[in-house]
Symmetry: C2
Subunit: 325 residues, 2 copies
């Protein structure tokens, strides 16, 4: 029997998965759950592909490609080479080992199974004791309104390498989505002690999750501190188009904008040391550390900082037992 999760991380792909790995290592077995963005999901060559779920799965299972942060280490590309030769689109890399989860997920979804159930089985097969939860069992598609027209996420992100300028975002299907029973149970559990928003892109990776009706309210109702790790270091994103998109959406790429964006959802921030004075000026609850996660020790340090801040806010809110806010 798996331990009840004490911490819920909320994550997109590569960057979020790094912190999720750190959290899984500083917590005990089974004490972490990760709620993962599925707005990036798409159907490609007829296969149902969930890039962020797979990145979190592969990262936690220790099979992720270490340099890329996505896909599998020790991979071969016979399928891809042949698909290319036969004229199929080849802009989205599908490794031969990687294909197993896409093929199996496609089969089970077609048979009417819930993505939550399929994902839980994958975690078991990969020996992952962290609970991995898709944000929704029904499809939500992140669409980008850009200067190159409306684009599905993977076309923007992978095929066009984030080059088009983004004007607006839409989460198609979000209004029909609902938090899963598994997430609701977890958020109501007396064992839950903290929620950690990973340093994923707030607009592309976290907003689709928060767009699921009822999910934001369920997070608040959990009455545990919600800690966000800032995705910016001195106004720059570690990786990916966060700062570029903020500029295109007409906001400053800085901590103040992130804090305004998350608003009352977040109780405290883990910021990089370079943003310490900015955090102090904003009057927010925070802790400062080096947030760049290159080594495994970095991941664990940021994880520890998040959990320590959550513990501090929990203690400050006692004895009422109410959530700090």
């Amino acid at each position: 029997m798996k331990a009840q999760a004490k911490v819920l991380a909320i994550s997109g792909g590569v960057g979020g998965a790094k912190l999720a790995l750190g959290l899984s290592r500083v917590l005990g077995a089974g004490e972490l759950a990760v709620l993962v963005n599925t707005g990036d999901d798409f159907t490609h060559l007829g296969l149902c592909i969930c890039p962020d779920l797979d990145t979190v799965l592969y990262t936690l299972a220790g099979v992720v490609h270490p340099a890329q942060g996505w896909g599998r280490a020790d991979e071969t590309f016979g399928f891809m080479a042949e698909a290319r030769r036969q004229g199929a689109p080849d802009w989205f890399a599908l490794g031969d080992r990687d294909l197993v989860v896409h093929v199996e997920r496609t089969r089970r979804l077609a048979a009417g199974e819930r993505l939550t159930h399929i994902t839980a089985d994958f975690a078991r097969r990969f020996g992952v004791d962290t609970t991995i939860l898709p944000m929704s069992d029904t499809p939500v598609a992140t669409l980008l309104d850009t200067d190159a027209g409306q684009l599905e996420f993977q076309h923007y992100f992978v095929r066009l390498r984030c080059e088009p300028a983004v004007r607006a975002l839409e989460f198609r299907g979000a209004s029909q989505a609902r938090p899963t029973a598994e997430l609701e149970t977890l958020l109501r559990s007396p064992d839950l002690q903290a929620i950690v928003l990973c340093p994923s892109n707030p607009y592309l990776s976290i907003d689709p999750i928060l767009a699921v009706p009822g999910l934001r309210a369920a997070l608040r109702a959990a009455r545990v501190p919600l800690i966000a790790v800032s995705p910016l270091i001195g106004g720059r994103a570690v990786k990916g188009p966060t700062a570029k998109i903020m500029g295109e959406l007409g906001v400053q790429a800085d901590l103040a904008t992130v804090v305004r964006h998350y608003g009352s959802l977040v109780d405290g921030y883990v910021v990089d040391r370079v943003d310490e004075s900015a955090a102090r000026a904003l009057g927010i609850e925070f802790t400062a550390t080096q947030t760049l996660m290159q080594s495994l020790e970095d991941r664990e340090r940021v994880a520890d900082a998040s959990l320590e801040l959550a513990a501090r806010l929990r203690a400050a809110a006692a004895p009422s037992g109410r959530r700090a806010s």
Copy 2:
């Protein structure tokens, strides 16, 4: 524009594909069409797999594994190794390059496309100028009633290596199947000169094709000689369970049984030299040659023998223009 086919071959998998290759080499470009058994088709790991269609495609495209006679030469098995590691059934080998056709066919069938159309596109992609026709666009499943219970074809053939004793065969879905418009057009074409039944297993590979209602009548109505290449050489099958099954079904594994089995459908036989006196005793139209096909020259020799016998029977039937029978 592709030439109109002059010869229609009727084939199962490995053995039939060898003769189809020989025919394609002795005929001009586009002059061959092959009608292929789809009774072996099955869904595996959620993928629609058509083993005989693929064997014919790979053989004609020159990419087939030369020793096996099925699957692809120069193949890798990353998908299979990973599927096995994750606990998926691994008794049916799916190579990484091979997977491309299964994934693409599954996608297009799910989108409502006809197998005939998908197969034609595959042939084009592989640079094959032979017309490859599935026996039906609707599924027909060859089921074997055995001493190990009722088995789907691939479970009998691959998983259990033809070990169970066969009592009876059933072609599920055959009554709903129909000859395709493409086959009917070809059989009505004035360009058609011969039909060649390949030396595939009459019970497992040819009977499912003949079980499609209206197909047998359409073959006869074509009014061209129908030549069968005997699958037996002196009472033994070259490969596969033909002789074993004949024994289990209570018939002699010899030319006489094959001739009785095909009955009035076949106008003449290509038999091995060892069966020459048997053929003469049966009073059938025949030609004798070495029918074992090991080299490319063997395939061409048997192809030539088939076409020469067809030409002889066609000439004998002139000037009425009616089919010899």
